[in-house]
């Protein structure tokens, strides 16, 4: 089964968000340090919204949300849980 983390890595890879291969980075590695720019973060956010059929609320539209695969995974899990509860 494809995990949330796998899907996140897929979005990062397919969107060309990073100048390096995401496979070379661990889940907690800093994506900004790896070359994620502000504009690339925006595209990454849109790609994740499409992939997971979610919308990031304003409170999550910040730098920290997208700083690592693990951070993205935490935010998305929270949004998916909210969706199920709703």
């Amino acid at each position: 089964m494809t995990t949330v983390t796998d899907k996140i890595r897929e979005v990062i890879r397919e969107g060309g968000a990073l100048p390096v291969d995401i496979a070379t980075l661990g889940d907690t590695d800093d994506l900004y340090a790896a070359g994620l720019t502000s504009h690339a973060t925006v595209n990454l956010m849109l790609g994740l919204e499409e992939k997971f059929d979610i919308e990031f609320p304003d409170r999550l539209l910040r730098r920290r949300t997208f700083e690592s695969v693990a951070a993205i995974q935490a935010a998305i899990t929270e949004l998916l849980d909210e969706k199920v509860a709703a």
């Binding site: 504009h39 304003d58 539209l61």
Partner: protein, 309 residues
């Protein structure tokens, strides 16, 4: 009256006062004004004052027209951030038949603009935009980086009755290009200098973290990121509102955004970082008229001394 309505009333009243005193000349479009000789004199004197503070730093003076190469504009990422503000220049590029159709539409007062084609020229959105491709074309920066002095009319499509939000206005900028340490030291120097310059002109001011007016939802994230990283500070002066003071100077750290876009390289081959200080000279003149009155001869002696010597 709601807060918005009272703010608009204050803006309209100040605009009308400026026009009544002959300082601004209305042109029939919100945000587009002629300037009187007195208004221009204040701006020239202020520019000289800025030069007295920054002119010995060795900046290369460059003056560009208020338009830039469309290709450079497209490459600059401006449309990703501020599509709503951009001004592209279009012209008629048709034949005789197209010309006749154009005239006919004009006579019928129909929309004649859809046939206009984009030229290779775009209005300058900020005074430093023409600079970066020029620096990039020179190759690697010298060890001490680069320092430039630019001054240009800029265009932003945001029609407003607020005289402090013009569609065509001038920015005087010093721009520093180099290592992160070089450009951050420059920015701090100008945050200090900017406050000293404006304090000596006896206007109330605050300096605060700010963000650019990025477009849309994506823009909200860019704005939050910009604030989180304290990339932009503004020197604010209350002109028509104390709750919403007007940004008259800004101190910007672009990180390696422009260095990356234009491939500007430092002496050792790294991607250059950039920072700039921008003076909104019309806004500064408006603040001076607001606090010292419409008659410059009656301004406080200490303020006149700063500007006219």
């Amino acid at each position: 009256m709601s807060a918005d309505a009272s703010l608009q009333a204050a803006q309209a009243a100040f605009r009308d006062d400026l026009i009544a005193h002959g300082l601004l000349i209305p042109m029939g479009v919100d945000g587009l004004y002629g300037r009187s000789g007195v208004f221009e004199d204040v701006i020239e004197r202020f520019n000289d004052l800025v030069t007295r503070h920054g002119g010995n730093d060795g900046a290369e003076i460059m003056r560009f027209p208020p338009a830039i190469n469309r290709q450079h504009f497209e490459e600059s990422d401006y449309l990703k951030s501020f599509p709503q503000l951009a001004g592209t220049i279009h012209s008629f590029m048709g034949n005789d038949r197209d010309h006749a159709a154009l005239i006919e539409k004009l006579l019928k007062k129909e929309d004649w603009t859809p046939g206009q084609k984009a030229t290779q020229v775009v209005m300058t959105p900020a005074a430093c935009y023409p600079l970066y491709p020029v620096l990039a074309a020179r190759g690697h920066l010298p060890a001490n980086g680069a320092l430039s002095d630019v001054y240009s009319y800029c265009f932003r499509h945001e029609p407003s009755i607020d005289p402090a939000r013009m569609q065509l206005f001038r920015q005087r900028e010093y721009v520093r290009v180099g290592t992160p340490e070089q450009v951050m030291a420059f920015r701090q120097l100008w945050i200090d200098r900017g406050q000293a310059i404006m304090s000596a002109l006896d206007v109330p001011l605050t300096v605060d973290v700010a963000n650019d007016p990025f477009f849309g939802r994506a823009g909200r994230m860019l704005a939050v990121n910009q604030r989180d990283q304290t990339l932009k500070f503004e020197l604010l002066i209350p002109i028509t509102s104390t709750e919403k003071p007007t940004a008259c100077l800004s101190f910007n750290y672009h990180q390696d955004h422009f260095g990356h876009v234009w491939n500007i390289r430092t002496h050792d081959g790294g991607t250059a970082h950039t920072a700039c200080v921008g003076f909104g000279v019309e806004r500064i003149a408006l603040a001076l008229f607001k606090y010292h009155g419409f008659d410059v001869k009656a301004w406080p002696q200490a303020v006149r001394q700063q500007l006219w010597g």
